[in-house]
Assembly symmetry: C2
Homo-oligomer: 226 residues x 2
């Protein structure tokens, strides 16, 4: 008797890639730059997002998808800024996959948006496994979490394009050594970029937002040229 | 045509319960008190664990299972204290289920241990879904993570018996309101207990360890009486 071996996880990831491709097409049609914002619970994803909106909101039309297991505390905060926002509930799941992301985009509507940001579920493990079709994978790691996190959660720092090292104002109070942290990330992803920031004191926020603005303009120019 | 509806998740959780029961039997045979230590990456699980070992290591024979996606940095730290320790790798998974826990215990050997502690993978979502057969579900939540976390990660605070509010020395630097935090947890689990601690300054550690000691002695007396 012959039988089939069904690689469930491979199948799930293949389907995920299809959904990510659908998202990329939608982004291209709308000339929208898409950021997948990831990090631990409490790393400072929402407060960083607020600074991005404040700095870039007059230049770009911004939309935000707030993903959470439950609650809508973050969506409320973001809605107060006046940008387009939707709260996505994962129904117990610990990450957003490409299909959930694509459905969220369809539900909110990305027409007319220059910049779309999805705040993923606070988790250093699972969201890293699911490519959602973003132009930028932005990881927020906060100083109190410790400089050893790339050793323990390597996939997140392998897929992350940029690491925002947040709460840098609290560095003296915690044993966080950014010079030890950086090579641990670069060993996983030699192209990773770092911005030490403080969403509280706003240190480093302008530098990051200037970099991001350039990146968005480059990508949108590519869309125009296509 | 009739067809089957297979509730995969229910089946997985039912099998998980069987494995948890196997673990409870092993704990009973060995009169071992078992703690499932959970929390976000960088909340301070390992440093709290070191304090427990220091306070209770002369009274109890302690064993530690360090669960990580990768690396063995925590196991190395724990091994330096001289207690029995094993590093468990989850192979990419974001939590330890009951079967992985039970296999870890068999591999390390819990014979002669009074106290067994498993440091789960840093994650506020998935580990909460899997009952591993522990006597105590101990959650470490650190002040920099924010007092809104029970709203966003309700299951963890529903299953947690005790919440250690760590890095309490840093409270003035962060907007953490413990009086706002507690009712959010109690709404999910009215029996939850709280200990504000600082693994850095050792504030509150003695109080928690005294409480834990009493709890361990009570449980072991029950085993003796059986």
């Amino acid at each position: 008797m012959s039988y089939e071996i069904f690689e469930t996880k491979e199948r799930i990831l293949a389907e995920n890639d299809n959904s990510a491709e659908r998202t990329r097409q939608a982004l291209k049609e709308n000339k929208t730059f898409f950021i997948n914002l990831m990090g631990s619970p409490g790393a400072g994803k929402t407060s960083t997002l607020l600074h991005i909106i404040k700095r870039l909101g007059s230049k770009y039309r911004i939309g935000v998808m707030e993903a959470d297991v439950e609650s809508d505390v973050d969506a409320k905060t973001i809605a107060d800024t006046g940008v387009r926002v939707i709260q996505l509930h994962s129904g117990g799941l610990c990450h957003m996959d490409a299909d959930m992301t694509s459905r969220g985009m369809e539900r909110m509507g990305i027409e007319g948006l220059d910049l779309l940001i999805m705040e993923n579920i606070g988790n250093l493990v699972c969201p890293a496994e699911f490519e959602v079709g973003a132009d930028l994978r932005l990881v927020v790691l906060s100083v109190p979490e410790g400089d050893d996190k790339p050793l323990k959660y390597p996939l997140m720092f392998t897929v992350g394009d940029v690491v925002l090292v947040n709460k840098i104002d609290a560095a003296p109070a915690f044993d966080f050594d950014i010079e030890a942290f950086k090579p641990r990330v670069l060993a996983l992803n030699p192209n990773a970029l770092f911005f030490p920031i403080s969403a509280k004191t706003e240190e480093g926020i302008d530098e990051f937002c200037s970099w991001l603005e350039k990146k968005i303009d480059e990508r949108r120019a590519e869309y125009e040229a296509d």
